[in-house]
Amino acid sequence: MTAERPALGVVLVVDDEAGMRELARRILEEAGYGVIDAADAAAAIALVNGGAAVDFLIADLDMPGMLGHEMAAKIRMLRPGLQVLYVTAHNQILFNDRLELAHGEAFLDKPYTVAGLLEAVSLLKLGHIKAPVEAPAASRWRHLLDAVGKLTGRNNQPID
């Protein structure tokens, strides 16, 4: 019997908050993605090590044990090219340590909207962003605009 894979791909959601994992799962599954999740970095790395099919990684940055971007670096050693969306209430953690995102990485502030999460994942997948469903806060989209530039090699292009 062949396991059927969701057409839009499988997202690995890693967040130490059960409510955030469940929120991401609800949003992504209703949109047609497959979702697997893990409560910490060790569990996520074990899933990938065990051969779990993963197309995208959504990682909370501020997790106990191992920070999200440290975990993502380890997972990308196992799966080079895996695209990563970081979510956090505090972007200082990322930018203090690394100052900028690597290729194939994007960033989304918490709290995010349903449209914001779906568009950020779509951006990772397609390298472009669809017209926003609602007018988002400018600060929230600065990160996405930066990421669009990185993913497409273009900067400061209008996205509508």
């Binding site: 501020d62 209430a89 918490k110 909207t113």
Partner: protein, 64 residues
Amino acid sequence: MNGTLPLPIVHGLKNQLAIVLGFCELLLADTAATDRRRSDIERIQMAARASLELLSGSEPMIDP
């Protein structure tokens, strides 16, 4: 002048408010436009957003 809260507290509260706001949005999406409970959900959203604003005023500044 605003007081400041420790960063882990701010982070934890923002996480919880993100969960509240996210599920409010999902609830509204599943609630008919004529449903009188929409205004109750919107009241929860307003309180959560107001709480976020209070938090942003008490967040410690971190210099690079």
